[in-house]
């Protein structure tokens, strides 16, 4: 065993309080497994925002529809990477897709991921962009024109009839996509919620809490992106659209927060055997990340701001500023939520008698830098996607 790892564990040994089983000293699911549900949550949330336009005809959100779809795709492409990188044998990961153990929640990853990527996201984007891609295939320069031809699968039909059909397909796929997005993130929650050995995770509410926090984070992210990208293109921000996103963000955040409070109250009221050690952990290990970051900064303050902007008649500039701050705070809050769920579940012993610590490494395959890279990578992919498939229907060569 390498000496650095040994010394790291020895150091944690000194930070253990109470009794933990001797094998429990190591925190096996590191910051990468925090990043994974965070990224997947953004996918599900962004998609739900997009679906509001197509299924529920919220026309005010139209300017963000394609942006939300591309955001979902960019994050979905990166989402499996943290899982892959944390494996002891990443080269064997194909087994999850080809020889899965059907009783494992984690093995469902292959099916859920393939379904969501191929049948929902890519299909919807293809139908939505098809006519545009056919046009770009004729107008763009070499080699881009060939790329568009391949992407459009060499289809040529841009008759109004074909476009009407595309539109109808988009609507149907979106209808299919909403439950799929629910399954995608509900399933991530189920990975944790179904572990009966762990009282911090084992709860039927976990998948639902995951889902709504996903919607909150996804909406906030698209709002943030819209507010950054639009001015950088030299276009005015559509305030009607922004106000509408903020409203949906508020509704989703209210549901999410209520569920979290319900979960918290339920645990306290039932006060099972594990309550003592969990209280101990929340007070001593998770105070900053749970009470301060997740609840106060990540939820209570954003909720307050959003309610205030709805109630008061602020001018446009102030509203923009407040929305911007809110969206950032919510990202911090939801990331902390993932942190608290994933790492909190591993900091207390299953003997319910003691706590261990998580010392995040900086470098290394499961370190902070890797997590940072994985969090930034989707934005680069998004930049490429926006370049290739401009959401605002412009010619990619700048007309």
């Amino acid at each position: 065993m390498n000496i650095a790892a040994h010394e790291g564990l020895l150091k944690i040994l000194g930070q253990v309080s109470g009794y933990i089983y001797p094998n429990e000293i190591e925190v096996h699911w590191s910051i990468l497994i925090v990043v994974y549900p965070y990224l997947t949550g953004l996918v599900a949330g962004a998609f739900i925002l997009a679906s509001l336009v197509k299924v529920f005809n919220v026309t005010a959100l139209k300017p963000t529809y394609r942006l939300a779809l591309l955001t979902a795709l960019a994050f979905l492409l990166i989402a499996p990477l943290p899982l892959l990188l944390h494996l002891g044998h990443p080269l064997r990961s194909w087994q999850i897709f080809f020889t899965p153990n059907l009783s494992s929640a984690m093995a469902m990853f292959g099916f859920v991921y393939a379904w969501y990527l191929m049948v929902v996201l890519l299909l919807e984007i293809w139908f939505d962009y098809r006519a545009d891609m056919v046009n770009w295939g004729q107008t763009a320069k070499f080699p881009l024109n060939w790329l568009y031809k391949i992407l459009s699968l060499f289809s040529k039909d841009v008759s109004p009839r074909a476009k009407v059909f595309d539109k109808r397909m988009v609507k149907y796929i979106t209808i299919l996509g909403i439950p799929s997005a629910f399954i995608l993130h509900g399933y991530v929650g189920f990975i944790f919620g179904s572990i009966k050995a762990n009282p911090w995770w084992s709860s039927v509410l976990i998948p639902i809490v995951f889902l709504f926090s996903a919607i909150v984070s996804g909406i906030a992210l698209v709002m943030l992106l819209y507010m950054i990208i639009t001015p950088s293109r030299g276009k005015p921000i559509d305030m009607k659209c922004l106000d509408k996103i903020a409203s949906f963000l508020l509704y989703a955040a209210i549901v999410d927060f209520s569920l979290e409070i319900l979960d918290f109250t339920h645990r306290l009221y039932e006060s099972e055997e594990s309550i003592k050690i969990i209280t101990d952990m929340v007070v001593n290990k998770l105070f900053i990340s749970l009470v301060v970051l997740q609840v106060l900064i990540g939820m209570v303050i954003p909720l307050g701001i959003l309610i205030l902007t709805k109630a008061a008649k602020f001018n446009q500039e102030l509203r923009k500023l407040l929305y911007f701050v809110t969206a950032i705070l919510i990202q911090i809050g939801i990331f902390s939520t993932r942190w608290n769920v994933v790492l909190g579940g591993q900091m207390f012993s299953k003997s319910l008698r003691g706590l261990t610590s998580y010392n995040m490494e900086m470098m290394g395959r499961e370190g902070f830098l890797m997590a940072l890279v994985l969090l930034i990578a989707p934005f680069f992919i998004l930049a490429i996607l926006i370049k290739l498939l401009p959401p605002w229907g412009k010619n990619p060569d700048g007309e």
Binding site: F98, T99, R168
Partner: protein
């Protein structure tokens, strides 16, 4: 193509505002279908031809894994085989207090020795350290298990000078109860009963020293026994007095030691 009629809502125009009439199978669907067919074909091909058959096994018989497990080399030989050569020690051990010990408890893993007796010789421990692992006094150890305080019990003397490890017995049968019941003796040392001999309360047959588990010491069987000192009528000056016949909150007739721990009695 033009004649295909599908009775699926997607392709029909009823109830739709966009007025799309389906009379031709949509070109888009065909293209997407080809892509999906190719992808599904690739997946099926991989599943059928590229996955090694041992990974396809899903039952409880993971033959290859079980074979790998079975191939794992052993280190411990088990004690029966030792008797083939070391029958004298083996037989001696069989009838002594160490009969439950496998030879390898003290001599270490020795499968290599059974295969190559001359190449590999097991440990012959003769230091105090090894015996102390089991026989140092520890309050968590079961009562009656022979324990000593290595700092007080003939310090520096190797255990084997007095005890034969293959048939360990005290050099003479223990005179003091404390030799085995050290934890009780410790408790007793801070108790008002410290001056009492163990045998005052426990009738102990001599056999108990030889067969501690099969012949057990007695315990007081009635209240009158404790009453000899603690009854109001007793002339013992230093003992707390109660009315032995009526003592107890609701007049229950428990034995004294069922409520009071005689090795460290408390008055409340």
């Amino acid at each position: 193509m033009g004649k295909i009629k599908l009775n699926i809502n997607i392709f029909q125009n009823k109830g739709f505002k966009d007025g799309y009439v389906m009379n031709k199978f949509p070109d888009q669907i065909i293209r997407i279908a080809i892509v999906f067919a190719v992808l599904i074909g690739i997946v099926i091909a991989i599943k059928l031809f590229a996955i090694p058959p041992e990974l396809q096994e899903q039952g409880i018989f993971r033959t290859s894994a079980i074979e790998r497990e079975l191939d794992h080399p052993s280190q411990f030989a088990g004690s029966e085989i030792c008797s083939d050569c070391h029958d004298e020690e083996y037989d001696l051990k069989l009838n002594g207090y160490h009969s439950t010990l496998s030879c390898e408890v003290c001599h270490g893993a020795a499968l290599a020795h059974t295969e190559e007796p001359d190449e590999f010789t097991p440990d012959i421990p003769n230091k105090r350290r090894l015996c102390a692992i089991c026989h140092t006094y520890n309050l968590s150890r079961p009562t009656g298990f022979p324990q000593i305080n290595p700092y007080a019990h003939n310090p520096l003397e190797p255990c084997i000078t007095c005890h034969n490890p293959h048939d360990p017995v005290p050099p003479e049968s223990p005179r003091e109860c404390v030799a085995c019941h050290a934890n009780i003796a410790r408790t007793l040392s801070v108790s008002p009963h410290v001056k009492l001999e163990c045998t005052t309360c426990h009738a102990t047959p001599d056999e108990h020293k030889v067969h501690p588990r099969s012949v057990r010491p007695g315990k007081p069987e009635n209240r009158a026994f404790c009453g000899k000192c603690h009854d109001r009528g007793s002339d013992r000056k230093d003992a707390p007095k109660i009315d032995v016949s009526s003592h107890g909150q609701n007049g229950e007739k428990y034995l004294c030691w069922q409520c009071h721990y005689p090795h460290l009695p408390e008055i409340d």
